[in-house]
Symmetry: D2
Subunit: 334 residues, 4 copies
Amino acid sequence: MVDGCPPRIPLSESDIQPFMDARRPGTSRFVTQRKEPDQVRILSGVFDGLTTGTPISLMIENTDQRSKDYSEIKDRYRPGHADYTYDAKYGHRDYRGGGRSSARETACRVAAGAVARKIIDGVTIRGAVISIGDQDIDRARWDWDTTSNNPFWCPDPVAAQRWEAYLDMIRKSGNSVGAIAEVHADGVPVGWGSPVYAKLDTEIAAGLMSINAVKGVEIGDGFKAGRSKGTDNADEMRLGPNGEIEFLANHSGGVLGGISNGNTITARLAIKPTSSMLTPTKSVNARGEEVDVVTKGRHDPCVGIRAVPVAEAMLACALADAFLMHRAQIGTPE
Amino acid sequence: MVDGCPPRIPLSESDIQPFMDARRPGTSRFVTQRKEPDQVRILSGVFDGLTTGTPISLMIENTDQRSKDYSEIKDRYRPGHADYTYDAKYGHRDYRGGGRSSARETACRVAAGAVARKIIDGVTIRGAVISIGDQDIDRARWDWDTTSNNPFWCPDPVAAQRWEAYLDMIRKSGNSVGAIAEVHADGVPVGWGSPVYAKLDTEIAAGLMSINAVKGVEIGDGFKAGRSKGTDNADEMRLGPNGEIEFLANHSGGVLGGISNGNTITARLAIKPTSSMLTPTKSVNARGEEVDVVTKGRHDPCVGIRAVPVAEAMLACALADAFLMHRAQIGTPE
Amino acid sequence: MVDGCPPRIPLSESDIQPFMDARRPGTSRFVTQRKEPDQVRILSGVFDGLTTGTPISLMIENTDQRSKDYSEIKDRYRPGHADYTYDAKYGHRDYRGGGRSSARETACRVAAGAVARKIIDGVTIRGAVISIGDQDIDRARWDWDTTSNNPFWCPDPVAAQRWEAYLDMIRKSGNSVGAIAEVHADGVPVGWGSPVYAKLDTEIAAGLMSINAVKGVEIGDGFKAGRSKGTDNADEMRLGPNGEIEFLANHSGGVLGGISNGNTITARLAIKPTSSMLTPTKSVNARGEEVDVVTKGRHDPCVGIRAVPVAEAMLACALADAFLMHRAQIGTPE
Amino acid sequence: MVDGCPPRIPLSESDIQPFMDARRPGTSRFVTQRKEPDQVRILSGVFDGLTTGTPISLMIENTDQRSKDYSEIKDRYRPGHADYTYDAKYGHRDYRGGGRSSARETACRVAAGAVARKIIDGVTIRGAVISIGDQDIDRARWDWDTTSNNPFWCPDPVAAQRWEAYLDMIRKSGNSVGAIAEVHADGVPVGWGSPVYAKLDTEIAAGLMSINAVKGVEIGDGFKAGRSKGTDNADEMRLGPNGEIEFLANHSGGVLGGISNGNTITARLAIKPTSSMLTPTKSVNARGEEVDVVTKGRHDPCVGIRAVPVAEAMLACALADAFLMHRAQIGTPE
């Protein structure tokens, strides 16, 4: 359910579906083999091809659930999963696929992100995986066009090839591996965001951290800034050919004091290895007995890959929110 | 203004002041030399020594402002500061000390955090600086008692000594430097937080990222998890002597699926070097001219030090919120 | 979408459907002749017959829409309807049945109200129509059991008979008529609500006023209190047989200072006559021409009748919210 | 604390003080004899005479509190007051003047309303008392200029004179009396508000109902609409001399489907007689004993009079909110 979308924006399922397809499982041997078409239907909020300004209800139905895959984990808590915390909190949980903690929940985020992109039409949002396990890209080879030519959203064609062999090894050993992704937004004007509450960087960080399995978030230089000197971190300013302000660097990731500065917004997120593995792990069950857990379901060896379209969506949502709030705060420039 | 504090909690200024004093400027040569007593007064919400359940209004008055220190930056944008983004957004800003973007704003956070600590009485919240610039602590020497025996909240007595010389060098060279801090919460029971919205880790990350100058946030292993294998990241479970669930590791930082798992909550934050330096930096002014900026005000060479009490406060606030929401969701256990 | 429902509450479609049936159109000649089964399906948030604590998604599909009935009003604004304001605000609207301003929207409210009732299990919520047009009930004959024995939710069997003839006359003359309804909640303990924000009476009033066509709301004596003396309005207190506080009257409608006082919560709402009539009314169209409008769709001659289950639902929702907030504020009594 | 005010709006204490003076106690023998200057100070959010876009902190200090007046009611619950409900909810309350349930709380509302008026600069907001007890005005004599020429905000000069004698009688008999007030907003353009959540009439009703002692709220014809026929309630439309839409009546009070229609917004509110009276009333005390209560403090015989500036303020706040939300939803018209 997407509320707050302005009226008269052209919107149809075909604006959303490509992003669903990007996140969709089953597209390569490096992601879960569930076959979900992830077909999105617009149930409300659009009339005659235009948004009406009222809530947009989007529905994506599951078609390939195999609940029996999960019967073994009905009573046993998978380490690193929410099984135990859900049970302890609620005294009751939908164990099939993890219920609400399933990565399928991110399909909704991607659909919402597609709507958010339409709201901030002039902004370009792109994402990439910059490392899988300890295998980094070489930023000198960064090429955005490459990201869609390999199954990893990898912007470095050389690394992409290396990752194939690496991930095959991980997968065959019944293990899983973490990843680090980076998302950019180009075209955000100066002024979006707020000084203390709803800071733009806070909202972006919150959106990214709320994605399943994300354990760290950076804006701009991030942790590197925490190890730098002031002289190395300064985003100095000069005037461009038409008298406009230009930044000589972008250590801040496009946000100063919670407000966009006109530079590219950059953020990174660390995604932990999925806890669902074929390797047995020590656990306990709901009856208070020690057990070993092997998860036989069809899982991603590196859930970080499919996190890219989700992270892009969260960035789009944070920016659309900031844009709409900016309109309330300041009005529309003439 | 602190709203939502339950009634009948003993509260007085003396519960808050020690935390204010911890954040207070002017306490050593490594922090800004402004002399602010940061005396907090409770204006409402407390009667006969107990909270009434109604909003608690806290006031901290500035006494050592020297607005003339800022006259030079009235029209020129300090690189890395919010001067330019505020002006561009609002067309008008309070330039004295950066107005709302001043680090003085964090005094309010610390006061609120002291109230939050009273709400979650059984939880212990502590923080430390784990690196200044490229100078790391040795975690093997970690001693919480040490943090209050040096001006850096440093848990490693050897590193603390080294940092004195290092920061003197930074300060004398007219430069500044970043830092990384870590905060822990012990005693959080299993069950606080929510599955998708208001996840506990999201709320903690948002609280930390909203602190001035913070550029990165991690929960548990954070970015290291993004470089790990599943077998290295698993927080396996076993039964303790009394049949209670015990985690054999805490890579997840005490949060699984957005909900606390009973382990120590751990988070880290990267604080960029303050942009206010004696070293000149290239900038522009409000009249569209290129200028060099030197900030003569009394600034912290490493603003990350004073971020520790603020980060503790934000962690306390996020936990108090989660606790109160948990009470709404589940009720109080008998 | 119902968010915030606590876990482990037994819930199935059969808990909701009876309330849907009460609001359902087509049940007598005094309400619209649309035939909608208003079958509710639970899509999420319930597992093994118990709520999981996660959002409950409810779906009610339209089956008897006849969009062609509305083709005549596509371009002409029905007086008293939202046609003109929607077009002026959004520049675009779904004209079929009024889109989001259709009274069908209240079906969702009734479904949500059924869930809310489960959350506040010990509270009894009932509603009645106390006047149609200028035809009042006699409160001396009030009998709750009567309300379900006539098509008007009328608690006075004599008035119910009179209303049949009266409404037949209204309907046959191509006119419509307003009504006043009253809702009660018994069993609300003392203490729900808040002093300034989220006052219980404010929340109830807001819930009732948000129902389509409602133009007035009263708590307790309401407007009569505005015409009374203090001595006539005092809800004096005495001790009951077991030392408990008893109120000798209930002018306040069960709320004092925004907080429930243990008495029956009482509220009234005025519902305007539906603006969709067979009688022609002067209007303009979207092309800026003067027109006469006759609405041929199947409309309620007295939309106030079907407002009763909706008003009950809004009262239930306001109380469930207050209960959950009270749990956060105070915890659960042992 | 007023958050969300746009930047660059001229604002000083002198914009707020006149409204404070209008609500101020001690201005005639018909209101409480407390002498409070109600001097407002702006602590933040304004710089060089213009709002900065950041929160505006306003402070009004009490100067004439006489806590000893209340010592008698420390342990006894005044009927019709929040004393009992506060104690029952919180187990602890500030009994002096009712604490947070004191009508002094409305001073803050008036100050906030003055800021709201600046945000919606072209809108004129006015209020009047239309009845005191059973003494109505004659609407045919309505004259807005009269309202400030008598101590009752009475728009009918004849009724104003009659009310003097009436209220003297009430006051001398140790009694109190209710009132009904009406507020208008002229100049609201078509389009403010929303279809289901945050309907304009809901927000206005909630604002008015949240004022102390208010028990009923109407928009437009209100309860009269509940007694009307459709043909009598229709706000028919015709074209004006310049082709603009004109409504031939305003039964709806300027709101259709939750959205303003360009007409005058009209609302009424019923204020109950103050429960603080010199006439003894039956009550109980905190020790569970039956007592008689006489309130000796300095109270308003008709608290409804001083409700007028408060109701105007709440209307201004609801409209400013709707305006800002409209800007977010639609943007600013060119």
